[in-house]
């Protein structure tokens, strides 16, 4: 009994501080968060490996060697530690190249959601009243949409239009570019809602602070107050939610790939590679390497992104959880 009581008191004393003292600077708090630091290092290694091998992988990712199709992993005489896929393509290069595409999708979606979400939340929170009411009701409605359905609809509805537009402006042959852009936009345009809500909440509480009132009293124009005084104070939540949007977007891309409406072949992504691998699984012969390696890379990256996001959240705003 005494031991449990003692244990419980320590829990009670530590609980609000989330592992590290609140008094440190944010980056120090982040620095002390072991899992987040490890994650950052792993992410950097993955990203650098993908980037460093780009000159090779961009040549090799769609090279088909039909003699090698469905061959298991091997180190020599040909270097293929991840094995070969159904069409005899070396999975190592496909995974490395696909990683860049996947990460690109995640980053693009995050960029879109930061831009729209921040502007939306800032406007709604700053002007308040009826503007706020209308804008946030719209966010509520969009929240009520079955959003995977919307991503699918957006993608299929606007892709042919964009292809036509790009082909008219830049000449023929832009199908793949349009395919990728529309995927970015479809995923990004759904993921800004949480960002908008969080930013609005922050703006509402910041708006009443004395320093904003002082800026107003000095007669600063609204644009300056927003850009110079409000935005810098919003950077914390923006970074946190942007980091957490990246894994979300990458997961959504993998679902779209699984349903056959992601990025078109032959361009690989971790999601589409894993989906191809899953489809190749059967009870007679398991081509385990086709599933395991892409999913492991996807899973590892998402895990690290989630850890980093959580770490940033703890560091930048301990009360925001």
């Amino acid at each position: 009994m005494t031991t449990t009581a003692k244990k419980n008191t320590t829990i009670a004393d530590e609980a609000p501080a989330a592992n590290v003292p609140v008094r440190c600077l944010p980056w120090q708090r982040f620095y002390r968060n072991r899992s987040a630091m490890v994650s950052i290092v792993v992410l950097a290694v993955v990203l650098l490996t993908c980037l460093a091998t780009l000159p090779i992988s961009i040549d090799q990712y769609q090279l088909q060697q039909l003699d090698f199709n469905r061959q298991p992993p091997r180190i020599g005489p040909v270097f293929a530690p991840f094995g070969y896929d159904l069409l005899g393509r070396n999975l190592l290069w496909r995974c490395l190249f696909g990683g860049l595409v996947s990460l690109g999708i995640g980053l693009a979606a995050a960029a879109i959601s930061v831009t729209i979400g921040t502007l939306w939340g800032l406007t709604a929170g700053w002007y308040g009243g009826r503007v706020d009411n209308v804008m946030m009701r719209l966010v509520d409605i969009l929240y009520g949409l079955p959003y995977i359905l919307m991503v699918i609809l957006l993608k299929i509805a606007f892709e042919p239009m964009l292809i036509k537009l790009l082909n008219n402006v830049f000449g023929p042959g832009h199908e793949r570019v349009a395919n990728i852009i529309i995927l970015f936009v479809a995923i990004g345009s759904i993921s800004w809602l949480t960002m908008a809500r969080v930013i609005r909440g922050q703006v509402l509480s910041l708006k009443t602070q004395p320093f904003i009132e002082a800026a107003r009293a000095m007669g600063l124009p609204t644009r300056k107050i927003l850009l110079k005084h409000l935005l810098p104070n919003l950077i914390g939540p923006v970074i946190v939610y942007a980091t957490l949007t990246v894994p979300q977007a990458m997961l959504q891309e993998s679902f779209l790939s699984f349903l056959g409406i992601g990025i078109g072949p032959p361009i690989p992504t971790w999601g589409s590679l894993a989906a191809e691998g899953v489809k190749a699984v059967n009870t007679v012969i398991s081509f385990w390497w086709m599933v395991v390696f892409p999913s492991a890379m996807l899973g590892l990256t998402l895990l690290c992104l989630n850890f980093t996001g959580d770490g940033l959240r703890d560091a930048l705003d301990p009360r925001l959880r």
């Binding site: 449990t4 009581a5 419980n8 829990i11 009670a12 004393d13 530590e14 609980a15 609000p16 409605i141 929240y143 009520g144 949409l145 079955p146 959003y147 995977i148 359905l149 699918i152 609809l153 957006l154 299929i156 509805a157 606007f158 042919p160 239009m161 894994p247 997961l251 993998s254 679902f255 699984f258 349903l259 409406i261 999601g271 894993a274 989906a275 899953v278 699984v281 009870t283 398991s286 599933v291 999913s295 996807l298 899973g299 590892l300 998402l302 895990l303 989630n306 850890f307 959880r321």
Partner: protein, 318 residues
């Protein structure tokens, strides 16, 4: 309380109308239509007649007719047809959307609700234990597993579970729908990311609550430790979970396509993807409307439960 419910219920048709309009616009933008596929084409005149019958030739007419035909109380009272009429499917001429959704929706809802049940029943205790035994091996293992659950796409975890439990161990059937034993694997797969999130929320909630004064009081008056946790701490720690359950249930209901596809379950997800690919406008509208209604109802239900559990929340003032 009741005024709030009525207000929300009156607002729901407006929200549905906005959703209908947005979906309609996108469905119209998708090029191509199912009556001009290019293969086995009908005679020109017949094609025009068929398109006129479905209002496929006039978007504005289709928009009005479909909306006007949706809700038919008089017809329902007279017993001449369904109350909600989602129209005939453009792709499967022998079926109405009502029939397709009537057969597929219960499957998706059953799967989604079972998944949410599993997620709550397993996620909350895991979160409570790792919250109390903070920084123990159980805490670290469950947290890492939870993050893995969030970080892997369901088609990978689903396939892994399928191979393990259905093929190697042969404890459960590989797929299909109709018996309880066929429900467990897909429901568990679908529940994994939600379970992980619920466990994390519970852990954080417990950590916060255990530091508060009233828990110290409860412990000081000599209550058994499990009683302090289950009766006092969990009640407050459960609030954030409850507010997460609404959107999560909605996501489980709508996001079940992937799981349905892996386990070969005749749910609504397959129909939605097929309807978009077939340009079956009536079916696209019908699926989106049905899904949105389900989501709206669940969000309302959660808000009401929230108010019922937490007396501090006053819905009238919101």
């Amino acid at each position: 309380m009741w005024r709030y419910v009525v207000k929300r219920l009156f607002l729901a048709p407006v929200v549905l109308w906005v959703i209908y309009t947005v979906t309609f616009l996108m469905a119209v933008i998708i090029p191509g239509n199912p009556f001009k596929t290019g293969e086995r084409n009908l005679n020109e005149d017949v094609q025009l007649a068929v398109m006129a019958q479905y209002h496929a030739d006039d978007n504005w007419l289709l928009y009005r007719e479909y909306l006007a035909g949706l809700f038919r109380p008089i017809q329902a009272i007279r017993g001449q047809g369904p109350l909600i009429d989602l129209g005939p499917s453009w792709q499967y001429c022998d079926w109405t959307c009502n029939q397709i959704i009537g057969s597929a929706l219960p499957v998706s809802v059953g799967l989604g609700l079972t998944a949410m049940f599993l997620a709550t029943v397993l996620g909350v205790p895991i979160g409570v234990i790792s919250g109390i035994k903070r920084n123990s091996w159980f805490d670290y293992t469950s947290l890492s597993l939870a993050l893995v659950g969030i970080s892997l796409p369901t088609f990978v975890t689903g396939t892994a579970l399928l191979i393990l439990f259905a093929v190697k161990l042969a404890w459960l059937p590989v797929g299909g729908w109709g018996s309880i034993s066929q429900l467990w694997l897909p429901a568990f797969t679908l529940s994994l990311p939600f379970m992980a999130y619920i466990a994390r929320l519970t852990r954080l909630g417990i950590l916060d609550v255990m530091a508060s004064d009233y828990i110290r009081t409860a412990r000081a008056k000599g209550l058994a430790p499990w009683r302090v946790v289950w009766k006092h701490a969990l009640k407050n720690a459960f609030l954030p979970i409850l507010s997460y359950l609404g959107p999560a249930t909605a996501a489980a209901l709508t996001g079940s396509f992937v799981v349905e596809k892996i386990f070969n379950i005749p749910g609504l997800g397959e129909h939605f993807v097929a309807s978009v690919l077939n340009r079956d406008r009536a079916m696209i509208l019908a699926t989106v409307l049905v899904y949105s209604t389900v989501i709206i109802l669940f969000n309302l239900l959660v808000d009401l439960t929230y108010a019922a559990v937490d007396p501090r929340i006053n819905l009238e003032k919101q």
